[in-house]
């Protein structure tokens, strides 16, 4: 029996494909965002809130929706006039760089300013897969536990932005915003934090303005 030294990272192939995606996005001039969260935290609602602001600012928005089944989320956005493609993973728990490349194979990206990839609702699996994005957002909501960043540190550790959504529910839930944000910062001291409510509009301008400026 003999030993062969391998020293290869299992995520390497995804990383190579992600770099290919990144080159394509940069050539097209598109700023790409990967949104990660548990199911039901409001990722699609946040995009719905962003869409009219993109129109008003003359920015072209394109969305990739990742779900296990159905076109429901892409349809929600198409009803608002947003260009959207749906990836149905049929059981897979995350998007990878290859799935994003396949979804965009026939898409014309020239002229797209902002490309948002809404990942499959899951705080574990998507965190290991770079899609070629420039910005990674983790979304949480006050309907979840304020200890989420402690339980899923990798999701927070690898994000650039953390949005706490459903701020309108605070009066009805036992959620300590300070404790949540301290835990998020513990996982990642550089995290940019936002608090939003898609229902009341609280914090939406601050978040959207920040994102638009990043893009510019």
């Amino acid at each position: 029996m003999s030993r062969i030294k391998v020293e290869k990272n299992v995520y390497n192939r995804n990383q190579e494909l992600a770099e290919e995606n990144r080159r394509r996005f940069q050539q097209a001039g598109a700023y790409v965002v990967n949104m990660i969260s548990s199911p039901g935290s409001g990722k699609t609602s946040l995009i719905e809130r962003l869409a009219p602001r993109c129109v008003a600012a003359g920015r072209r928005l394109f969305v990739i929706e990742g779900d296990v089944e159905t076109e429901r989320d892409a349809d929600r956005l198409r009803r608002l006039g947003v260009e959207a493609v749906q990836i149905q993973t049929h059981g897979a728990c995350h998007l990878d760089a290859a799935a994003v490349a396949r979804a965009l194979a026939g898409a014309e990206l020239a002229g797209v300013d902002l490309l948002i990839i809404e990942n499959v609702g899951n705080l574990i699996c998507p965190t290991g897969f770079d899609l070629g994005e420039q910005l990674r957002i983790v979304v949480a909501s006050t309907a979840e536990g304020d200890d989420k960043p402690l339980k899923y540190p990798a999701a927070y550790h690898k994000a650039d932005v953390c949005i706490l959504n459903k701020m309108d529910l605070l009066a009805w839930v036992d959620f300590d915003v300070e404790r949540f944000e301290a835990a998020a910062r513990r996982a990642n001291a550089q995290l940019q934090l936002f608090r939003t409510s898609c229902r009341t509009g609280e914090g939406i301008d601050a978040w959207c303005d920040w994102l638009m400026q990043r893009r510019a």
Partner: protein, 114 residues
């Protein structure tokens, strides 16, 4: 669930190594998974056990070492290697603790039968 994609990638890397080194059979695979890699060792062993059938790694043993995360207390600088996630700093009691850890999954080496 993503352990299945990782297991497939491991098999692909093993196959590439087989073409390069020309071995017959893999006895064991040594794998190093960072604490922030999102890999559950039991789930990965299960996934690998299912898809290795009919390949040169059919009988291979997967040996997974987990690289623990490092916790550093921001106020006092105390650091510790930890597998249980952050609590309060044992030295100063602060909960302002930074988490550092690897997110990679690396195949370190293969034991093979020529």
């Amino acid at each position: 669930m993503h352990e299945l994609s990782i297991a497939q990638e491991i098999l692909d890397i093993i196959e590439a190594q087989r073409l390069r080194h020309g071995f017959e059979r893999v006895e064991s695979v040594r794998l190093r998974a960072g604490a922030l890699s999102g890999v559950n060792p039991e789930a990965l062993e299960f996934a690998f056990g299912v898809i290795r059938e009919g390949t040169c790694a059919a009988g291979a043993d997967l040996r997974i070492e987990t690289e623990p995360m490092k916790l550093v207390c921001r106020p006092c600088g105390y650091s510790a290697i930890d597998c249980h996630g952050p609590g309060a700093c044992p030295r100063c009691g602060s909960v302002d603790i930074q988490i550092d850890g690897s997110a990679g999954v690396e195949i370190v080496s293969l034991e093979v039968e020529q």
